[in-house]
Subunit: 279 residues, 4 copies
Amino acid sequence: MPQLVVTFDCPDRPGIVHAITGGIVAAGGNIAELQQFSSPDTGHFFTRIEVDGADRVRLTDAIARATEEFSARFRVDDAGRPTRTLILASKAGHCLNDLLFRWRGGDLPIDVVGIMANHAVLAPMAAFYDVPFKHRFVTAETKAAFEAEIQKFVVDNDIELVVLARYMQILSPELCEFLAGRAINIHHSFLPGFKGANPYRQAHTRGVKLIGATAHFVTSDLDEGPIIEQNVVRVDHSMDVAKLVRKGQAQESQTLAEAVRLFAEHRVIVDGDRTIVFR
Amino acid sequence: MPQLVVTFDCPDRPGIVHAITGGIVAAGGNIAELQQFSSPDTGHFFTRIEVDGADRVRLTDAIARATEEFSARFRVDDAGRPTRTLILASKAGHCLNDLLFRWRGGDLPIDVVGIMANHAVLAPMAAFYDVPFKHRFVTAETKAAFEAEIQKFVVDNDIELVVLARYMQILSPELCEFLAGRAINIHHSFLPGFKGANPYRQAHTRGVKLIGATAHFVTSDLDEGPIIEQNVVRVDHSMDVAKLVRKGQAQESQTLAEAVRLFAEHRVIVDGDRTIVFR
Amino acid sequence: MPQLVVTFDCPDRPGIVHAITGGIVAAGGNIAELQQFSSPDTGHFFTRIEVDGADRVRLTDAIARATEEFSARFRVDDAGRPTRTLILASKAGHCLNDLLFRWRGGDLPIDVVGIMANHAVLAPMAAFYDVPFKHRFVTAETKAAFEAEIQKFVVDNDIELVVLARYMQILSPELCEFLAGRAINIHHSFLPGFKGANPYRQAHTRGVKLIGATAHFVTSDLDEGPIIEQNVVRVDHSMDVAKLVRKGQAQESQTLAEAVRLFAEHRVIVDGDRTIVFR
Amino acid sequence: MPQLVVTFDCPDRPGIVHAITGGIVAAGGNIAELQQFSSPDTGHFFTRIEVDGADRVRLTDAIARATEEFSARFRVDDAGRPTRTLILASKAGHCLNDLLFRWRGGDLPIDVVGIMANHAVLAPMAAFYDVPFKHRFVTAETKAAFEAEIQKFVVDNDIELVVLARYMQILSPELCEFLAGRAINIHHSFLPGFKGANPYRQAHTRGVKLIGATAHFVTSDLDEGPIIEQNVVRVDHSMDVAKLVRKGQAQESQTLAEAVRLFAEHRVIVDGDRTIVFR
């Protein structure tokens, strides 16, 4: 039987782990990995458990019965099932290339169902990896229509994750709302420093000694969504903006790929404005 | 009631977490943090649990009853209780200074009961921090006697942890055996590279671009004990051995302090030749 | 003859390095290390040169003659001469302890001439390291007087560097002006994120995955002075503010010590709002 | 006029920088960047200078005249000229993909003239990037013939750099000799730890807390060539060998790409068993 992943959260109180693990025992499962966190900020309990040797339906049932009293949200998924993913892109291909290569190499547990872009330049890359690619130049006039297409694609294809791989458009509040908790953006700075446009130029002007990248959930509050992953790299006075960009792109690709992996493995849970990441 | 820390290990099989958490529920405790690992290499199960709201004796009892069938080793300790510690040193004071300062500042949950050294040079530092200091110049003739003193000090003072803070003597196999699992050494290289003497000179000769430090349990197999913590720092061609030493010492202090903290918080467990570290 | 360090800057144009090195040759010196940077942002030329085998007075003279035409500022100093330093502190001792230990161990090329603080708590540490310590509780009423004392101390003792080792007072614009280019502060965040008070609390609230420290020159524009050095360390959701503080303090000590070393070795030059750092 | 890069080395003695810069002045050039290092280990002088505003032939001539007395090796090259590169590969595509994408994106100053492999699996990737691909299954019998083809390709195509992008064959001493100083390998460990085969398995067994990658020049002494670049990443007890491999591959790609860039920008110079890297 394939390994299962249980994610579970509810208001914190005594006895939760014992109840859940009671469900696991009842379903004949064995715990391969268990992580747990009780948030002092929100008074909420979170856990992620990998279970061997149990049937998914039976385990779901057993946990539901064992934890009835806790008003929990929980989910049992096959550990190996790839997350159905839509990627949004513009012109810069470094993040897209990295995601596609890792996916094809079996290194990311996702299934890239489509790519949508506001420029055509990355079409050959999509073709090489054999992924449907749709582009439409986005203007004030066409934006709503394109966002409707994105929304339709998500619905029609059971998309679970939308990745903004340096998609240089701001999503409308409606689309943000629609994608809440399932859209990840890569911002090319170490947030909260250097929000908005041209962060590498801002970093050069300020003369920082480290630059970075931040993967976060998309919210309508630009560059303010819950942070999933961040990385930095050392820079010095001799580097102009172009060199900062080049240095930073490696961080962007890697940070985004790591955030996607964490999400696809059900390791990221939103807790208010912050994330819990069970590594 | 103070927070308690449970560490527990036994041969892996289904039902262990459920059983332990049953004991916690029975003792009226609430789980603040739970980490668990089943080692595929040794087939052993390990967990570390922080429990609020329970009495230590009652919890110990309840877990013992609930897990009878598992032939487990386990221990319940007050989370805040400082670990009784003896530090061994030679001439270099950077690690000793760092440990003493952190301890006095309440940053390390240890109690430094004594310092023993094979040189007198660090006596004023010990005096400043008001710690008994004993030194004896160690030669082939005096080594056995000094080691007997160390052993006696450990026994007489209920020492739980012996820290070799750049103690430049090789311990006898007998003393290693006596201190097994409770002595931590800091080696001034990124093991397994550059074992033995003068690792910074070896690093310079080899022309590595990163140097590091390794904190590990002491075993009679020199520089081969289970690794607890490692760090590195970037270096370049222009640095001579003296500069590598200076760069490396900051890593040594920090790496050793982190390893001591992890140990004192019951976060380090030996699993064969490796360690499990519940951060 | 001791090694000399030349720092030299002027508006950029062809022929500068040739002219300076002509002076070095004329003085019988040999170049051990030469670093150079022409700032595209300010059109200014900067260099730092270590010279062996030359007399200081003679070299100064020779460079002055050889570079007359460039309207340069330059300085020739003994490489080994310790920088005369005043440290300002409050209650937190981790940075002070680190600086004093490194200084006494010969690891920082400074001479700590005095410590001034707005609390008495660090007096014993100053006494242990045998450094004059002056404290005065700073209020709105006493601030001007204490700043006058600081200024007098700097003048009377030929202080070259003032280090704010977690000195929790904002300096007046007048004192900032007086200390321009020779006062280094450590800020307990990765600037420009989390300026002002309680950066660790801000970091916790924002849910960042890395926290950091920034050493910068003091200017009257709070937390905006030219950055000298920055470091970060990984954190996660489970760490409360107290744990972030503890994690961050190691970064603060190390970052400040590195900035002090770079300054004392004449490796830091202000270029507008940024610094050039010749490592 | 395009920017030029001068690399120059000779036995160390006074006056070298002055002489070279005299040549630069004579050729009407301006120094954009100058780095210099005198190796105490080998008594050799090294410099790398970026020069604006000068003609290549005229500058070469002027430097030759100005530095006649120093028995130097030196070279003047167009800063922007791409380094003619041959890549050797086997089955693993992560390094190859990274190099090809960076090259096509203008991020690496190389020209990938060909790819030779001992497996066919990466042929489609080569085709996508439109690079001639040749594969031949290498056995004891065919090895000499394939190495002869490599050698011929290098000669026929004026190859300046051969990159072993996880090429899983040991080169013969003859080929190593032929490619001395112009072949870069990526080793999947933090050398000198874990030489030879299966370094990730070795790392798992030893229980290290950081794993890494090392880019080095190829020599006939396996895994012992001068190191160009190294990186590490943190790992923990829960990661099996497969996860270490996945974690490590990101380091391999990035470390190799950085080494290739440094080489192509004439920033790497061999100094005995070590490298000087002018960043």
